[in-house]
């Protein structure tokens, strides 16, 4: 996860954080007037952006999603729940790019879902990352006993998955070539040594899935079975959320930067990397 911190050395990445956050917030704010659970959840077509930002801008997309969501809250819904929103949206922007590398061997890892396999991987990532984000936010508001776990979880999952699957592939196919032409892909800006190398990548992938699905099932069962309220849910879900964090540490990301360098060398000829 060191790229989450080393990215701040690059002015371009700092600017991408600011612009991503501003775009996300600017599209979130007009929908503040359509709350599903007021003060916590509203209709959010803007939720496609964290997936897109993540795959294009990597760690800058993660920070952009977190800050953008917080700024969105600045326009009328800044509450203690905004802390959970910040963390949940950070993972919504962090996990897609980290998981993407786990599904592809060396070669063409471009986050452009223009093949059946890449589209299927993209959809799978949207599903699990939406569940993780929803579990984090629902866990946080349940722990504080602000809202019951179940309705918040279901609404956030659907709020993330629908725009992510309906709009995401179209946006990525439309935007990827342009962002690449601008030279703004995170794999082109960051150096391999600034990005964490994958360790037990498959295990990391499995941990994210087990942690996310486990948190969802455990939270729903505890509440539906009447085993306890928010604090019980909050304590019971901690091991599952820790699995997600551990998975994120194992997933890496350096392989994508190296693959992008190899692709660039092939496209531009042998002298491109030495000039």
């Amino acid at each position: 996860m060191k790229e989450v911190f080393t990215m701040w050395r690059h002015t371009q990445m700092v600017v991408l954080v600011a612009l991503s956050a501003a775009i996300y917030a600017a599209v979130l704010i007009p929908f503040k007037g359509f709350p599903i659970i007021p003060g916590a959840i509203e209709i959010r077509p803007a939720n496609v952006f964290p997936f897109v930002f993540s795959l294009l801008f990597g760690p800058a997309g993660a920070w952009g999603a977190a800050i953008g969501n917080l700024i969105g809250d600045f326009f009328g819904t800044l509450t203690v729940g905004s802390i959970g929103g910040f963390i949940g949206n950070f993972f919504l922007g962090l996990l897609p790019y980290k998981l993407w590398g786990a599904f592809f061997r060396r070669g063409n890892m471009e986050p452009n879902p223009n093949t059946a396999k890449k589209l299927a991987v993209y959809v799978a990532i949207v599903v699990i990352v939406s569940v993780v984000c929803a579990a984090i936010i629902a866990w946080f508001v349940a722990l504080l006993e602000l809202f019951p776990f179940t309705p918040v979880l279901i609404l956030i999952v659907s709020n993330n998955i629908i725009p992510g699957i309906v709009l995401g592939p179209i946006l990525l196919i439309a935007l990827y070539p342009r962002v690449k032409r601008f030279g703004l892909l995170w794999t082109e800006i960051m150096e391999p040594e600034e990005v964490s190398a994958p360790r037990f990548q498959t295990l990391g992938n499995v941990l994210v899935w087990v942690g996310g699905i486990g948190a969802l099932v455990a939270g729903l069962l505890i509440e539906a079975g009447g085993f306890g309220g928010g604090v019980t849910v909050g304590i019971a879900l901690i091991p599952f959320l820790l699995l997600v964090v551990a998975g994120a540490f194992l997933l890496g990301g350096r392989e994508q930067v190296e693959a992008a360098e190899e692709m660039m060398a092939v496209e531009e000829g042998p002298e491109a990397r030495t000039s």
Binding site: W8, R9, T11, Q12, V14, V15, A18, L19, A21, A22, I23, A25, A26, V27, I29, K32, P35, I37, P38, G39, A40, P45, V48, W63, G64, G68, L70, I71, F74, F75, G76, T77, L78, T79, V80, S82, L144, E145, L146, F147, P148, T150, P151, I162, P163, V166, L167, I170, L171, A174, L175, V179, F182, G183, L184, G226, G228, G229, G230, T232
Partner: protein, 259 residues
């Protein structure tokens, strides 16, 4: 339309150091969670509203009133349905979860109103400088303040692009939910591209002005912690301490709620 909540007034709250305002905001979040009895929480809400009145910022309540009302209704209904208690009221609704729902509604409304007051009395530049002076890395604070500043610009760009696309026949209102969401593509792509394409120029402009060149930064906006800040923090600490003491000796709780 200006989406910013900031109100340029000349009150003692506006004069406070942004770091003091941040501590007061966080302290209010804590205060909202001390009590569970709706009566005590109503007292906390009255205090917050009094503070907002002194800050001449309650006019912004007009912009968020529907959120506050909706929170009250949804929270009360949700907890009345999902919670369990001991005293039947009517049908399957019990007294304790109903009171708990009202308490939670008040808790959230208190934090929303406190957040609104904070944003009404604090400029974006003050938030960024305050974050940096609190020890948050400058580049992070810069990203937050730049994003805050760019939101109205991007919203205006989105509005212009929306009008242009509608004049070419874009219909955002027709179709089922999925079709309506898909209709946003001709809006989102140009908004994204028109914003992101400035990244390289923006980065070069920053670096040409020495962004990140020196270890120690100076700020155009100077903030300082004065006697007003000390008084505000001491008074608030006394209120928070009193509230915690009351709760510790058994006041302000809610008996019989089963979650």
């Amino acid at each position: 339309m200006d989406p910013s909540l900031y109100l340029d007034r000349d009150t003692f709250v506006h004069w406070l150091d942004p770091r003091t305002k941040m501590f007061l905001l966080l302290g209010t979040f804590v205060l909202a969670f001390v009590f569970l009895d709706p009566l005590y929480l109503a007292g906390v809400m009255a205090l917050v509203l009094l503070f907002g009145y002194l800050a001449e910022s309650l006019v912004n309540l007009r912009r968020i009133w529907f959120i506050l009302v909706a929170i009250a209704v949804v929270s009360t209904v949700l907890w009345a349905l999902f919670g369990s208690g001991q005293t039947p009221l009517f049908l399957f609704v019990e007294r304790e979860p109903l009171l708990y729902g009202i308490a939670v509604a008040l808790r959230i409304d208190i934090t929303v109103v406190a957040g609104m007051i904070f944003l009404s009395v604090t400029r974006n530049e003050e938030i960024a400088t305050g974050l940096a002076r609190l020890g948050i890395p400058y580049r992070f604070a810069f990203a937050v303040s730049t994003a805050l500043r760019l939101v109205p610009t991007i919203a205006a760009t989105g509005s212009t692009i929306g009008q242009a696309q509608r004049s070419r026949g874009l219909d955002l209102e027709s179709g089922n939910v999925l079709e309506r969401i898909r209709n946003y593509v001709p809006l989102l792509v140009p908004v994204f591209i028109s914003t992101i394409r400035s990244t390289n120029v923006f980065s070069m402009a920053l670096e040409s002005k020495g962004f990140g060149a020196g270890q120690k930064r100076t700020f155009f906006l100077r903030i300082s912690f004065g006697w007003r800040d000390a008084v505000a923090l001491v008074v608030f600490a006394a209120i928070l301490g009193g509230a915690i003491a009351l709760r510790t000796v058994g006041y302000g709780g809610l008996e019989g709620f089963g979650g």
